[in-house]
Each structure stands twice: as structure tokens, then as C-alpha cells.
């Protein structure tokens, strides 16, 4: 009688203790990329200067950034895969890629699905015109001219609706490279989007176009990470800080965009925060 009751007690105590201990442990069992041995990183494959497939290899500013960040996180086994703008969230959420470094602008809406490290660079919306154009020195000079934007982009809307500028025609092309072709052929007067993207095109043909160099929005290029991976986000931020302190970022900016006349910012961007 006594015996049985006591045993019941001790079993109860044991179970209670074990439950408490387990509940305390499970909280810290979340996986983070900082503990990973290898990374699959999504980059653009069709964006000159940023992420472009060339002879079976991906090259560009984003590609170099991705390698540097991974290396500074202590991960050397890195596989790069091409992603398109539309695929970025899905591939990150499904786990097909661990990280995205692909002209990925940080926006409040995206932050509900993706945790962003960085930004590693704050691009600005700017305008590219033909090299022989000398009457456009600011965004207001686009009044009465035609502007091209990539499909699904709203960069031109910022000019027309946001700033109330009356452009003569708003063209939509399937991609920005198509816009650039139209600009080269004189079918359109100006192309407007992120200055790093424009600089990438310009670097391919520095004599054909020129920058207006009147940036008017911030496009914060972030490092897309699985939602809630705060530790990885903090590690990415640390890596980016280091890259600006030891001037790696500056060297890379020069390497990819140095000849374009783009005014690059060489100091560390304001990070978005990891929560």
C-alpha cells in the first residue's frame, strides 16, 4: 500500500521533471543557416553586372557578394543556382535555396515571408538615356519624353503618379534588356529602374548610354533568408559590415560598375533589422 503510493509519486515527479526539461530544451532547437555545412544560394542568371550566366558560369556583383558573405559566415561549400525575380520567394520558402542574393529589394510585404539580412547595397532608381542626349539632367526633364519599364515593374509609375510627371508614352517591355535594346535603337527616350541594374547594362556598352545621376528612391538590396532565421540574419549583417570596413565592397563596386560613371556609395548601408 505505502509502497505503491510512493512509487506513483516518484514516477509522477520524474515525468514532471522530464517534461519541464524537454520543454526548456526544445526552444533552442531551431535550425539556423549559421550551423550549415553547405549553402545553396539563388542569384540572377540574366542580369548583366549583377548575376549573369556566362560560359556556364554565374558572374556579377551579386555573385561575388554571395560568395563573400558565405565565406565570412564560415561556409565554403557553396552552390549557386539561377533564380528569376518571380521565383525568389517560392524557392526560399520551399527550401530549394537557402539564401537569395538577386537584386532582391527589401519591402514590408516581402518581410512577412522572408527574413532579410543587409541590405548589402542601397540602389537608387535612376534614369538611363542615350549618350548623345544632353537635355535630360533630372527626372522632371522626362516630361514629354517616352519611358520604358520592364513588365511587372512599377518604377515608371513613381515618375508618372508619384512625381506627377507627364511623360509622352509609357512603354512596357518583357524585360529590362528589351528596354535597353529599344533605347539603343531610338524607340524610347529613357529607361528607368535601379541604378545598379542600369549600370550593369551600361558596363556592357559604356559608350552607348549615360546616367542622369539623379537618384530618387531607395532600393534596398537584401539577402533573403528563411523566415525567422535571426542568427543567420545577424551573421550576414556582420559579414556585410566587415566587407565595407575592409573595403571589399568598394573594390567589388569598382570592379563591376567602375567604368559607368555611377556614383556608388562606399559606406555600409543601414540594415533592416532581423526581426
Amino acid at each position: 500500500m505505502w509502497f505503491g503510493r510512493r512509487r506513483a509519486w516518484s514516477v509522477a515527479a520524474l515525468v514532471a521533471t522530464a517534461t519541464l526539461v524537454l520543454s526548456a530544451c526544445s526552444a533552442e532547437d531551431e535550425k539556423s543557416l549559421v550551423d550549415a555545412d553547405s549553402l545553396t544560394i539563388g542569384v540572377k542568371a540574366d542580369q548583366p553586372g549583377l548575376g549573369l550566366e556566362e560560359g556556364g558560369e554565374l558572374v556579377g556583383f551579386d555573385v561575388d557578394m554571395a560568395h563573400e558573405i558565405a565565406e565570412r559566415m564560415g561556409i565554403t561549400d557553396v552552390e549557386l543556382v539561377g533564380v528569376t525575380s518571380a521565383e525568389r520567394e517560392d524557392k526560399l520558402i520551399s527550401g530549394e535555396v537557402d539564401m537569395v542574393v538577386a537584386t532582391y529589394s527589401i519591402t514590408p510585404a516581402r518581410k512577412t515571408e522572408v527574413t532579410f539580412g543587409g541590405p548589402y547595397y542601397v540602389a537608387k532608381q535612376d534614369i538611363l538615356v542615350r549618350a548623345d542626349e544632353n537635355e535630360v539632367s533630372g527626372v522632371r526633364d522626362l516630361a514629354g519624353r517616352s519611358v520604358c519599364q520592364g513588365e511587372g515593374s512599377n518604377s515608371a509609375l513613381r515618375i508618372t503618379d508619384g512625381l506627377g510627371i507627364d511623360v509622352s508614352e509609357l512603354q512596357e517591355a518583357e524585360s529590362y534588356s528589351a528596354c535597353i535594346e529599344r533605347l539603343a535603337e531610338g524607340e524610347v527616350d529613357a529607361v528607368s529602374t535601379d541604378n545598379l541594374i542600369l549600370a550593369g547594362f551600361l558596363a556592357e556598352d559604356p559608350d552607348a548610354f549615360q546616367f542622369v545621376n539623379n537618384p530618387f528612391t531607395d532600393e534596398k538590396y537584401g539577402v533573403g533568408l528563411p523566415y525567422g532565421d535571426v542568427a543567420a540574419c545577424e551573421a550576414v549583417n556582420k559579414a556585410v559590415s566587415e566587407m565595407y570596413q575592409d573595403e571589399t565592397a568598394s573594390v567589388l563596386l569598382d570592379e563591376w560598375f567602375g567604368e559607368t560613371g555611377l556614383e556608388v556609395v562606399r559606406s555600409v548601408p543601414q540594415f533592416e533589422g532581423c526581426d
Binding site: A24, V139, N237, K238
Partner: protein
């Protein structure tokens, strides 16, 4: 032999519980009195810097009319006070980030940058004063210096200051998590040793029963129950103190720091109104930047300021409902940003009014912004300047009113923080004496239980 084992396990229980309780207390101490408050202070660096630049641009905007708004003297005093706060925050940041080279570099860079900024800002003020520039018509040379100053502020100083604040959050988080997992490990030990103690006591009881044919040994029985109470009690106390600590961090400190960031960004954002008025060349940029900062503070899908004003008006009316948050429209991500969903989620019951007040005060700021830009577009610079200086007026301005409302909400979270730490301490407190006393009683009971039997044996 068994009696010795019992004594050893009791001592082990005492030891492991003491160590773990100590770790838990340290964790609370670091968060509550060390890293936590320092992180909060670092977060205020951004606010102080943004305010310095806001004061400078207001002084330039006022020009020769020193009585606009709450007056030039007030702006100058505000500048000095923010300068002092920036220094104070930098000291805190330096002490929190000691030993981390990346962060130490940032602290130093901000320190150096402030010196360079002050020089440019003083130059701009001097040139503008010398030129006798009327309100809103800043002297071109002065404007050139100010552009350099504000560019330095926005590309070098503010980002680093903001990142320092984020890093201090990261340091707090790492400390907190390491502490929690150390305590979790300690719990495993306490639990394990506790079970071993109980098992040893039962074994001793059984041995005595078989060996001396006694029905049961009362002191040992009490000791067994006592060991269980001690183990479960310490475990429960550690668990509840850990819970309070997490609450203090998540709903207290983290929420307070996020809202402080919202205040800092709004400070910079309202200064964009003055920058918009003094600099024709970059007016479009400053307007766009104003919208972007606004979206950071409180996000609603809107690509133009006009749309944004309308959306924000709705948010403040619909509260405590947040527009778009029910997911019925897939293109509408909801009401986001520092004052959006996350601020609402961090609220404790009964705090809705404080957030409602902040949202309504924020809407007031946007209503004034709409008036300001309308006047500027109509070419009525004087009216626009009046609106602008009214916005930042110390006593009647919508911006100080907003900051007051925000501070009220921040204070609620700060209270939650200190209360959480206190509750955590309180959960551990009884065991400071309870544990040694309990262990002594257990040991005494074992001795009392075993001694007569030993005598009998002899």
C-alpha cells in the same frame, strides 16, 4: 554504503541547483541591469543624430526670422542637448560592444563623423547668417555646405548608428539565448540528480526494511518526499523565471527598442519636410524619401503620398482592426511597419489605447504634411513654412505630440521589461535560503533515520 550514496546525491542536488540558480540569476542580471539598458541607450543614438540634423535644417529654414515656430533659440538648445545625448549613447555603445572589432570600428567612425558633421553644419549656419537669408530662401553657399552635412549624416552616421542599435539587440539576444540554454542544461542536471537522490533514498528505505524488518522508516520517508519537493520546486522556479525573462525581453525590451526606432525614423522623416522646402533641386528626392521613411514607420500599400495619406487615415479610424490584415485581398499585405502589426502583437491586454493614441497622432503628422505640400505646390512658400514650423513647435506641434504619445507606449513596454525582470528574480528568491536549508534538513533526516539502525547493528 547506501547512506553515503544518499548523502552524496543530496549534496549533488544542492550543488547542481545552486549553480543553475546562479546562472539564471546572472542571466536576469545581465538582461535587466547591464546589456538590456545599454542596448536601449544605443538605440537612442540614432534619434539623437537625426534630431541634430533636423535642428540644423530648421535653423536654416527660419533664416532671419528667429521667431518662427518655437524659435531659433529653442532649436539651438535642442541641437546641443541632442549632441550631448549622442555622446552619452556612444559611450554606452562603446561599453556594450567592447571586444567586438567590427562594432568598435563603427563606434569610432560615428565619433569621428560627428566632428566632421558639426563643422559642416556650423559652416552652413554661419554662411546663411552672414548672407542674411530670409525664411525659406537659404543662401546657395550655405545650402551647399548643408547638403554635404546631411549627406554625411545619412550615408555615414545614421546607418552606422542604426546598425549599432541593431547589433546591441543582437548581443542581448545572444546573451539571452546562451543563458537560457545554460539553464536548460542545468535543469537536466537538477532533474537527473533529483531523481537519483529519490532513488537512493528509496533504496535505503527498502534495505533497512529488509535488513531490520521495520515497516518503514519515518525520517527517511520524509526525506524522500523532501527531495522530491526540492527537485520539483527548483525546476519550477527556474522554469518560471526563464519564462519571465523571455517575456521581459520580447514584450518589454524588444518592443520598446522597435518603437524607439520608429520614433527615430519619424524624427528624420519630419526633417525631410524642411529639406524639401529649402532645396529645390532635390525637393522630389526629399519627398520620395519622406514617403519611404513613412512606409517604414507605418506601412500601407501606396505608391504616392496622396494614396498614403488616405490609407493612414483609415488605419487610425479602423483601429483596433488593422486594414488588410485579414488576408482577404492577396495584393494587400496588411498594416505593417514599426507601428503596424508588430506593435499590435507586442501589446499586452489593456494597452490598446496607448497604441491608438500613437496611430492617431501619427495621422495628425501626415495630415499636416498634406497641407504643407499643397501650400508648397501652390507656390505659397510662406504658408508652407508656417505649417512646417508648426509641425515641430515644442508646445503645440503635431510632431512633439506624436513623440509624447509614442514615449507613453514605450514606457509601458519598459515597465513590462523591469516587471518581467523583477518577477524572474522573485521566482528565484525563495530558493536563495530555501535550497541550503532544504538540503540541510534532508541530510539531518537521513542521519536521524540511519543512526538508531546503526546503533542496533553494533
Amino acid at each position: 554504503m547506501l547512506s553515503l550514496l544518499c548523502v552524496a546525491t543530496i549534496v549533488g542536488l544542492f550543488g547542481s541547483a545552486t549553480v543553475t540558480l546562479g546562472q539564471a540569476r546572472d542571466g536576469l542580471d545581465v538582461l535587466g541591469r547591464d546589456a538590456g539598458p545599454q542596448a536601449m541607450a544605443t538605440t537612442e543614438l540614432y534619434l539623437a543624430l537625426a534630431d541634430m540634423d533636423a535642428r540644423v535644417v530648421n535653423i536654416l529654414l527660419m533664416g532671419t526670422d528667429h521667431d518662427l515656430g518655437s524659435g531659433r533659440e529653442e532649436s539651438e538648445a535642442g541641437y546641443e542637448s541632442s549632441r550631448g545625448q549622442a555622446n552619452e549613447a556612444l559611450l554606452q555603445a562603446a561599453s556594450l560592444t567592447e571586444g567586438d572589432t567590427v562594432e568598435e570600428y563603427n563606434v569610432q567612425a560615428v565619433l569621428d563623423g560627428i566632428g566632421a558633421y558639426e563643422q559642416l553644419a556650423a559652416e552652413a549656419r554661419l554662411l546663411n547668417d552672414e548672407a542674411g537669408a530670409p525664411p525659406g530662401e537659404v543662401d546657395p553657399e550655405a545650402l551647399r555646405s548643408y547638403r554635404q552635412a546631411t549627406r554625411l549624416m545619412h550615408t555615414e552616421l545614421l546607418p552606422k548608428a542604426f546598425n549599432l542599435g541593431l547589433d546591441s539587440s543582437a548581443i542581448v539576444r545572444t546573451n539571452h539565448e546562451e543563458g537560457q540554454s545554460a539553464v536548460a542544461m542545468g535543469l537536466v542536471w537538477v532533474g537527473g540528480v533529483g531523481v537519483a537522490t529519490v532513488a537512493a533514498l528509496i533504496a535505503l528505505q527498502l534495505y533497512l526494511r529488509v535488513r531490520f524488518r521495520r515497516r518503514f522508516n519515518a525520517p527517511l520517508l520524509v526525506a524522500t518526499v523532501g527531495a522530491m519537493v526540492l527537485t520539483v520546486g527548483v525546476t519550477l522556479a527556474l522554469n518560471s523565471s526563464g519564462g519571465h525573462q523571455s517575456e521581459a525581453k520580447d514584450e518589454g525590451l524588444d518592443a520598446a527598442m522597435a518603437l524607439a526606432r520608429a520614433g527615430a525614423i519619424t524624427t528624420d522623416m519630419q526633417a525631410d519636410q524642411s529639406r524639401y522646402l529649402i532645396d529645390d533641386v532635390f525637393a522630389d528626392n526629399y519627398q520620395q524619401v519622406y514617403l519611404e521613411r513613412s512606409q517604414q514607420v507605418l506601412f500601407r500599400p501606396a505608391s504616392t503620398l496622396e494614396d498614403y495619406y488616405a490609407e493612414i487615415g483609415e488605419v487610425s479610424e479602423a483601429f483596433p482592426e488593422l486594414p488588410g490584415s485579414d488576408g482577404s485581398d492577396s495584393r494587400d499585405p496588411g498594416t505593417l511597419g514599426y507601428l503596424g502589426q508588430s506593435a499590435q502583437e507586442a501589446l499586452l491586454p489593456g494597452q490598446e489605447d496607448a497604441l491608438a493614441e500613437v496611430l492617431s497622432a501619427y495621422n495628425d503628422v501626415q495630415v499636416e504634411d498634406q497641407r504643407l505640400r499643397a501650400a508648397a505646390r501652390d507656390g505659397d512658400l510662406e504658408a508652407a513654412i508656417d505649417v512646417r514650423m508648426g509641425v515641430s513647435h515644442t508646445e503645440e506641434g503635431v510632431f512633439p505630440a506624436y513623440m509624447d504619445a509614442l514615449d507613453g507606449l514605450i514606457d509601458l513596454h519598459r515597465e513590462e521589461f523591469t516587471d518581467g525582470i523583477d518577477r524572474g528574480d522573485a521566482a528565484l528568491a525563495p530558493w536563495t535560503w530555501g535550497l541550503p536549508v532544504g538540503a540541510l534538513i534532508l541530510l539531518t533526516l537521513v542521519v536521524i533515520g540511519v543512526r538508531p539502525r546503526l546503533a542496533e547493528y553494533r
